[in-house]
Symmetry: C2
Amino acid sequence: MTAAPLPAAPPDLSPEELDRFYLALAIEQARTGWDEGGVPIGAALVHQGQVLAVGRNRRVQMGSAIRHGETDCIERAGRLPASVYRNSVLYTTLSPCYMCAGTALLYEIPRIVIGENRSFQASEELLRSKGVELTVLDDAECIELMRRMIAERPEIWNEDIGEEG
Amino acid sequence: MTAAPLPAAPPDLSPEELDRFYLALAIEQARTGWDEGGVPIGAALVHQGQVLAVGRNRRVQMGSAIRHGETDCIERAGRLPASVYRNSVLYTTLSPCYMCAGTALLYEIPRIVIGENRSFQASEELLRSKGVELTVLDDAECIELMRRMIAERPEIWNEDIGEEG
């Protein structure tokens, strides 16, 4: 895989290989966020095989209270017609918080692929109750990114999920 | 009331008068948003009598998919300790969409004062089920702002709530 932005998936991947391919774009964003001193959570928005945007948590980098991985990604995708969101898949390295879940519900994104939900899980029951298809890949790299985050930057992590430090 | 940003409430207001006072700040934001060509929805975040920030929908102004009135307000308030959100009230001219409701849930904002919910309502049941106190003021000016919006700028409004134009 090249480091080019918004790459297309190689042909002939199985559905799970495709999910892993797009999740890898989100993981790359999470790693970049960690290197920037931030929260290592990333996301990608994919519409019928086309990567519309990638994003990452920018709480530290932008002093932001609303730029989680998923919301940053959706912001970077720009203003889109409803029909595009409704045929897109959102990839995220970590199970979405309520803000990001609510953003997916607002735009009726029908499917979310989640890198892992061991480190954090809040909204999955809500999302499923509204008909969103969730696929949890239980990815070792996503788990390790969060393990390191919680161990080394607990204050920022707590802030990011609205918890007392 | 002066046009100064983030004014303090006059003394000796009743609880409902206080809510109307802070809602008026949100309405002022909504009017500004309309005059800018945008979606006329505004918000204010108030912590123990201190206005932390006001905000307005900036879909048009910033080309944003995530800057609703409430999220713009929370973004403008900056990074805050969990304890501040948990003792704040969010004022909004219109009943929150799922994204904005989810943002309030993420930060455990305990109370939301809603200008009106006749033009749009999606998340109130969810918010109440999570223990958020909602006060709906059924404000005529908020209703009129949305009536004009839906009549004169229906495409932007539909886009803003993830509906087909």
